[in-house]
């Protein structure tokens, strides 16, 4: 559905997107995961014909982003990072305006607007001015607008940025619903690990304008090699490393950190051999994958979803 070949965007000396080659399949939900300034939005803007690439090429729905911008635009819907509706108009009027800009025939216009309003749960508020909407509602209106012309490809640029946790989860439900009901390819950028994990079929981790990893969320996590158990014990580490299900033992802050295949299965075995004061275990999260790949923590990361919070504690 999308083919990107050696795409480059430079701003003076700064390379925002560095020789990107990537294929995105039909009807998949693809996540571009990276910290702020990694180049995610620049990629989206180029694919949406708002920015011209410095070099390289890309096609969206078979149309070239530089030579056939009008065709690309008719094929895509986009939700920008910041809501872009006119807040003096009502939700309905905004959709009406855009349905005309997308040349939706007059006789199907009203029906389609009602459909998308229902899909994002804004039917009740459709005749209120957008300035009275909450952040989450505005974001949903943007999604409705993006869906109006039944695009083949939907871009969601940080769809939950700045939303509170409850609105974020609501938003996820709507995104999952639109993927189910509208059958389209979705490209989503985010710096929330949890969001990418829940929503995406495949994830490209992007750092400094390059894709540093590309796989399913499961595959990315499996790449780190199993689970981790942390124990506090006076027991000899060397003896523990001789246990056959323990791959590796490291010491950290008075804890022993053991790498194992499956913490839930291996932990009871371990406790048969070892007397421990404190035991914690966790599966790797995308956040761990990210740190492993880039050597940095995600900027502006959310408190929830990180490794530490995933520890189950047994005192």
């Amino acid at each position: 559905m999308i083919k990107i070949r050696s795409l480059v965007k430079k701003y003076g000396d700064h390379i925002a997107v560095d020789n990107l080659t990537l294929d995105i399949n039909e009807n998949e939900v693809f996540g571009l995961l990276g910290s702020n300034g990694a180049g995610k939005t620049t990629i989206i803007h180029m694919l949406a014909t708002l920015l011209k690439p410095s070099s390289g090429s890309a096609t969206v729905n078979g149309y070239d982003i530089v030579c056939q911008p009008a065709k690309v635009r008719s094929s895509i819907g986009i939700v920008f990072q910041a809501p872009s509706s006119d807040d003096m108009l009502t939700g309905y009027e905004n959709l009406q305006l855009h349905s005309m800009l997308y040349s939706i025939p007059r006789h199907t216009r009203k029906q389609r607007i009602d459909e998308v309003l229902k899909l994002v749960g804004l039917t009740e508020r459709r005749h209120d001015q957008v300035k009275t909407y909450s952040g989450g509602m505005r974001r949903r209106l943007e999604i409705a607008r993006g869906l109006l012309h039944k695009p083949k490809v939907m871009f969601l640029d940080e769809p939950t940025l700045g939303l509170d946790p409850a609105s974020r989860e609501t938003m996820w439900r709507y995104i999952q619903r639109l993927v189910r009901e509208e059958k389209m390819t979705v490209i989503l950028t985010t710096h929330y690990m949890e969001e990418a994990d829940i929503l995406c079929d495949r994830i490209g981790i992007i750092d400094k304008g390059r894709i540093v990893a590309l796989d399913t969320p499961k595959g990315l996590k499996a790449g780190l090699g199993g689970d981790i158990i942390r124990i506090k014990t006076r027991y000899n580490p060397d003896k523990i490393s001789q246990l056959d299900f323990v791959h590796k033992v490291e010491q950290s802050n008075g804890f022993l950190v053991l790498s194992v295949n499956n913490a839930k299965r291996d932990l009871p075995m371990l406790l048969r051999h070892v007397e421990a004061e404190i035991v914690e275990f966790a599966s790797p999260t995308l956040n761990d994958v990210f740190i492993h790949l880039t050597g940095r923590k995600m900027k502006e990361e959310q408190p929830e979803g990180g490794f530490a919070e995933k520890y189950a504690k047994y005192d």
């Binding site: 803007h45 635009r73 920008f80 005309m100």
Partner: protein, 260 residues
């Protein structure tokens, strides 16, 4: 088939964009009140105040307040139209512009829709002022009212184009303040809105002759008071020329405007 998009489709999109401008205008009534109040203040305070000091060069049978009336109508058009350019900066600031740019809509369509919005705005204000003019005893006929409205639209098209073109190069509203000082006030003061053009010093008459608004003021004065400097045909010819050039400048500027 990008180039076979029908005229009808283009017009439907222009209509959609214009309708949005018009609805916003109707909902922001404070905008209308504020921008109508200033010209009225000029008309009555400056008109009566300076009128009592009576410049001697006025055409016979016309008092100063009547004399500046076409100028004040022009002033309202100059301010409203050029200021309209700041709304393209607002559109950019609130990302509305981005959402339009990513739709299959040409830049020219966006420009025309926006310009028609500005013209509508100016026409509504001018209509209020023309009603005041009728009450003031300006000798209108239905024909001269219609002709005056046509001049208002022509002027407003040119000046809205100018404002939007300048606005398309700017990213902050603070920057637009400069346009007020360097464009709006010179256009107004040099237009002969407040004084007769006949006995000006050489340097000033060169500047007034270069000001497109001069011909709008003169055309309106011809139509409303039957007195003027150039004659209404010449006024209209020059106004059409200026307007076409400013419209082209607007289309060009929107074409090269950055989308993000």
């Amino acid at each position: 088939m990008q180039n076979t998009i029908s005229m009808q489709d283009h017009l439907a999109k222009v209509y959609a964009l214009w309708l949005r401008e018009f609805k916003v205008f109707l909902r922001e009534r404070s905008r209308l009140v504020a921008s109508t109040f200033t010209p009225i203040l000029w008309l009555f305070v400056i008109g009566s105040g300076l009128g009592s000091a009576a410049p001697s060069e006025l055409p016979p049978g016309v008092d100063y307040q009547q004399f500046i009336f076409p100028g004040i109508v022009s002033m309202s058009i100059i301010f409203t139209s050029v200021f309209y350019g700041s709304y393209i900066i607002w559109d950019r600031k609130f990302d509305f512009l981005k959402s339009v740019m990513v739709a299959p809509v040409s830049r020219t369509t966006v420009f025309v829709g926006k310009t028609l919005g500005g013209m509508t705005n100016s026409l509504i204000q001018a209509t209020i002022l023309l009603a005041i003019g009728v009450a003031m005893g300006i000798p209108f006929t239905p024909l001269s009212l219609a002709q005056a409205a046509a001049v208002v639209l022509l002027m407003s098209f040119g000046l809205t184009s100018l404002g939007l073109a300048l606005g398309s190069y700017m990213y902050s509203l603070e920057g637009f303040q400069m346009i007020v000082s360097f464009v709006v006030f010179p256009l107004f003061f040099l237009s002969g809105a407040l004084f007769p053009l006949d006995n000006l010093p050489e340097w000033l008459s060169v500047l007034t002759a270069a000001d497109p608004a001069t011909y709008g003021v003169d055309a309106l004065r011809n139509l409303m008071l039957g007195t003027g400097t150039y004659g209404v045909e010449l006024d209209l010819a020059i106004l059409v020329g200026y307007t076409a050039a400013l419209g082209a400048f607007g289309v060009y500027s929107f074409g090269r405007m950055k989308a993000v």
